[in-house]
């Protein structure tokens, strides 16, 4: 059972499996229980549900055919890329078809003159940069899962990464999408130029969590590799000073390519796992990467070093060579699996906060950690305010998962309270539906539902995800009051 129940009235239409077999080769339709098992969850494995069937088309025409069959029978469709998403956006529905784009793995065109790549949605993020490397180009957004996650999923979630401050999110790096509508029609948004006529549907598609249309092709922006990249690692005795140093770097007018913070539990876990050379006793470390032309990087490295030392860093290391720079990053990028080694399970949160609130938020997370009796390790995209607290728990201990979820919910509500958001880059999916009720009021939620209905009038594309029903929010609000311990009683509620 999914941990957040599907509220919909189910529409079981088992004959759809036979109809799919009419439009797809037999090896493109899975319906046996054991075949469905690998698809029962995405990267949020606490939520599981087997779909009625899995469709694995290999052509756009087949995707259209699947959509037409499902549309005619009012059967819900959930699109899935590599299944690495962390918010349950690709969680199947019991009466639905899971539409896997995993077989769309071709890079269709590299265009170094226009600095673009045209790719199928199942192409892995990292493989775009690998293919573009021979032209001295790369694709900038680099979520930590980039060796596995696919570009279609990146667009659906508007994925971020560690270089967003300077190079933007997925939405800033996509030029054009080819999509299939819920009715099975092909259409395009964006263009090969810098803009397109009409409303900016391209921006709207990014981060729409598979609720508006199915992505079947993406044209992405490529950037020239910087002439040079250099990274600094700074250790601090307390988190406040590390946070203040971040603000001072930004205030100096330098835009680092990456600016990451880790707290002590995260440092220890990452160091034990990746042997990146992190100072194990530091309360916090900052990793600051600077890239650009040679002269620019030399200039900025000196300034950032001074700022860090002035800001109370106990140690500042500049990577001696490319190997050490990559080691600094390896520790950071492997923080999640590293934490996975020190705890049977962990729950990754994804709030964004204004940077100035960092120390207050971390202090409150500490208090909540004590309250719930669960450890937490924090990794933080400090440059853009995106916080990833990793709550450590053991699913085999009765009640621990429930406590972890409550703890996570409190953190997200705290992010909203200080002027941030419940999701910076992982998406709402099913996971954060309740917290959406805190961030948006009734009229805003109604507007979001109306927007979805413009693309999907019957509501069969990934229904129940990303935007909570008003009914759910009413129940969630009531539940909070029943507990009698509303975390932030001063917040307006719907």
């Amino acid at each position: 059972m999914p941990r957040i129940a599907d509220e919909r009235q189910l529409n079981p239409q088992p004959q759809v499996v036979h109809e799919l077999l009419q439009v797809l080769p037999a090896d493109c339709v899975l319906a046996a229980e054991d075949e469905l098992a690998p698809y029962e969850c995405d990267g949020l494995s606490a939520f599981r549900q087997r779909p009625m069937a899995v469709a694995l088309p290999t052509t756009v025409e087949q995707v259209q055919a699947v959509m037409r069959v499902c549309h005619a029978a009012a059967v819900p469709v959930v699109a899935r890329g590599a299944g690495t998403g962390l918010s349950g956006g690709a969680l199947p529905l019991a009466d639905g078809v899971l539409l896997s784009l995993a077989r769309f793995t071709r890079i269709l065109e590299l265009d170094p003159a226009n600095l673009t790549a045209r790719v199928e949605p199942g192409v892995r993020n990292l493989s775009i940069s690998e293919a573009a490397a021979r032209h001295g180009l790369y694709y900038a957004p680099d979520p930590s899962s980039q060796i596995a996650c696919s570009i279609g999923g990146n667009v659906a979630e508007n994925a971020g990464g560690v270089h967003c401050l300077k190079y933007g999110l997925t939405v800033h790096n996509i030029l054009k999408l080819k999509l299939v509508s819920v009715e099975g029609e092909v259409f395009e948004v964006g263009s090969a130029a810098f803009d397109a006529p009409g409303l900016d549907l391209l921006a709207l598609m990014n981060g729409s969590e598979g609720m508006l249309a199915v992505i079947v092709e993406a044209t992405v922006k490529l950037l020239p590799r910087a002439e040079r990249a250099q990274a600094l690692l700074a250790a601090f005795e307390d988190v406040e000073r590390a946070g203040a140093a971040v603000a001072r770097i930004i205030a100096s007018g330098i835009t680092p390519a990456g600016l990451e913070m880790m707290d002590n539990p995260a440092i220890r876990a990452a160091e034990d796992f990746a042997h990146a050379g992190y100072p194990r006793d530091a309360a916090a470390i900052l990793i600051c990467e600077l890239d650009g032309t040679n002269a620019e990087v030399s200039h900025d490295v000196m300034r950032v070093r001074e700022i860090l030392l002035d800001g109370g860093a106990t140690e500042v290391r500049t990577a001696r060579d490319e190997a050490e720079r990559l080691a600094f990053w390896k520790g950071r990028k492997s923080a999640f699996p590293a934490v996975g080694r020190i705890s049977p399970d962990y729950y990754c949160m994804d709030g964004t906060i204004p940077r100035r609130e960092l120390s207050a938020v971390l202090k409150r997370i500490d208090e909540l950690s004590e309250h719930y009796g669960l450890r937490v390790a924090n990794v933080f995209h400090a440059g853009d305010g995106n916080l990833h607290p990793l709550i450590l728990y053991d699913a085999n201990q009765p009640g621990e998962l429930d406590r972890a979820e409550d703890f996570g919910g409190d953190i997200l509500e705290l992010c909203v309270k200080v002027g941030g958001t419940v999701s910076g880059e992982h998406g709402v999916g099913v996971e954060k539906l309740n917290q959406m009720c805190v961030q948006f009021n009734t009229e805003e939620l109604e507007q979001l539902h109306a927007l979805k209905a413009a693309f999907d009038p019957a509501g069969t594309l990934n229904p129940g995800k990303a935007v909570p029903t008003l009914h759910r929010c009413a129940e969630f609000g009531a539940m909070h009051v029943h507990h009698g311990e509303l975390p932030f009683p001063e917040l307006p509620r719907v």
Partner: protein, 366 residues
């Protein structure tokens, strides 16, 4: 409230949200069409409007939040663009998208709703890239907040970026939160005499290299390139770009504001947006190129069908940007495909069910 430590002068404050909300709600109830008005500097852009009434947003002014180290500013939509740019400048920052003003009365809301970006666009960001959040009225007169003031936010559909360039057909902007960027420590414009075809080739060569370019243009037989950075970085860039430094100031502002000689005269002005590596387009004699080859301006009374076909063949689209004396042929924007047009109509219905906001400004049916 803006941070107490910021430098420079804050624009005057006035909050008329309640009045604006009441006007839109009343217009919704009565089915009265409204023209949303900022400073009127871009009234020429888009299809002409005939509405029963005007909704004047210009009194709704002031900086709601600004902390330079958060790299974001939130302002009311009627705030003069020039005042916001001056405030950012005093704090060593700037808007990444370098928007055209087209007059002193330009407002921030108008700049976002028009969605027009200036010379820095390919090298930094477009208007919509820089939008972090909006507070808006939909066509029912409901006050809605989408996005926020933080860099990363994927909660809910990205309505705030959808509003950029929407020409007021979905809602009335009340406040916008924009990403800002540091001003460069130094800049340098280099000038080379080059024919169009060679100039386009050079722009593409440079775009594929790690250079500190912030703008490129071709006009009157000359290729212009703007670099930014420290003295060392500028020297390095000059070595790569070649040409001579341009002593006269104001070229980029004049390009952005369409005050170069090539923009003079009563003829219509066509904006042709193409894949940047497209070869020379010879639609008319008088041409200005920007954005590394991605934007081509033509000052002539062009045939709309041929112009749009040429733009489409080059991966883009053509807009009748200024109709000149009003005699220009054809509609303003490139018509949409069938599915896209249907989605546009349904989105309009979702945000403005009575069809009262800027009806017909973008397309006749919106």
């Amino acid at each position: 409230m803006p941070d107490a430590s910021i430098r420079g002068e804050l624009p005057p404050e006035r909050d008329i949200e309640v009045e604006l909300r009441e006007q839109v709600a009343a217009a919704h109830a009565a089915g009265t069409t409204l023209a949303i008005a900022g400073g009127g500097t871009k009234a020429f852009y888009g299809r002409s409007l005939e509405t029963a009434a005007t909704l004047d947003v210009t009194p709704h002014q002031g900086v709601v939040a600004y902390e330079p180290t958060e790299l974001a500013i939130t302002v009311r939509a009627g705030t003069p663009l020039a005042a916001v740019e001056a405030l950012l400048d005093a704090n060593g920052q700037q808007l990444p998208f370098e928007p055209p003003h087209f007059g002193a009365a330009a407002t921030v809301g108008g700049a976002v709703a028009a969605g027009l970006s200036g010379p820095r666009r390919p090298y930094a960001a477009s208007v919509r890239d820089a939008v972090l959040g909006v507070r808006m009225l939909n066509g029912r007169g409901q006050v809605l907040d989408f996005g926020g003031r933080v860099m990363k936010n994927v909660a809910g559909y990205d309505v705030s970026r959808l509003m950029a360039g929407s020409l007021g057909v979905l809602g009335v902007l009340l406040e916008v939160s924009l990403k800002v960027m540091p001003k460069p420590v130094g800049k340098l414009t280099l000038l080379r005499e080059e024919p169009l075809e060679r100039a386009l080739g050079l722009m593409r060569q440079w775009a594929g290299r790690s250079l500190n370019l912030t703008a490129t243009a071709w006009a009157d037989g000359h290729l212009y390139a703007r670099l930014c950075g420290s003295d060392e970085a500028l020297a390095e860039g000059r070595g790569a770009i070649g040409g001579e430094p341009l002593a006269a100031r104001g070229f980029w502002t004049n390009l952005r504001e369409q005050r170069l000689a090539a923009f003079d005269g009563p003829e219509p002005l066509w904006r042709v947006s193409v894949a940047p590596a497209s070869g020379p387009l010879t639609l008319a004699e008088r041409q200005v190129v920007e954005w590394g080859g991605g934007l081509r301006w033509f000052k002539a009374d062009l045939d709309p069908v041929e112009t749009r076909a040429a733009a489409q063949a080059a991966g883009g689209h053509a807009t009748l940007f200024r109709a000149g004396g009003g005699t220009a042929r054809g509609d303003v924007f490139t018509p949409l495909g069938e599915v896209s047009a249907r989605l546009h109509r349904r989105l309009k219905q979702a945000f403005d069910p009575a069809g009262i906001l800027n009806p017909g400004r973008m397309y006749p049916e919106l």
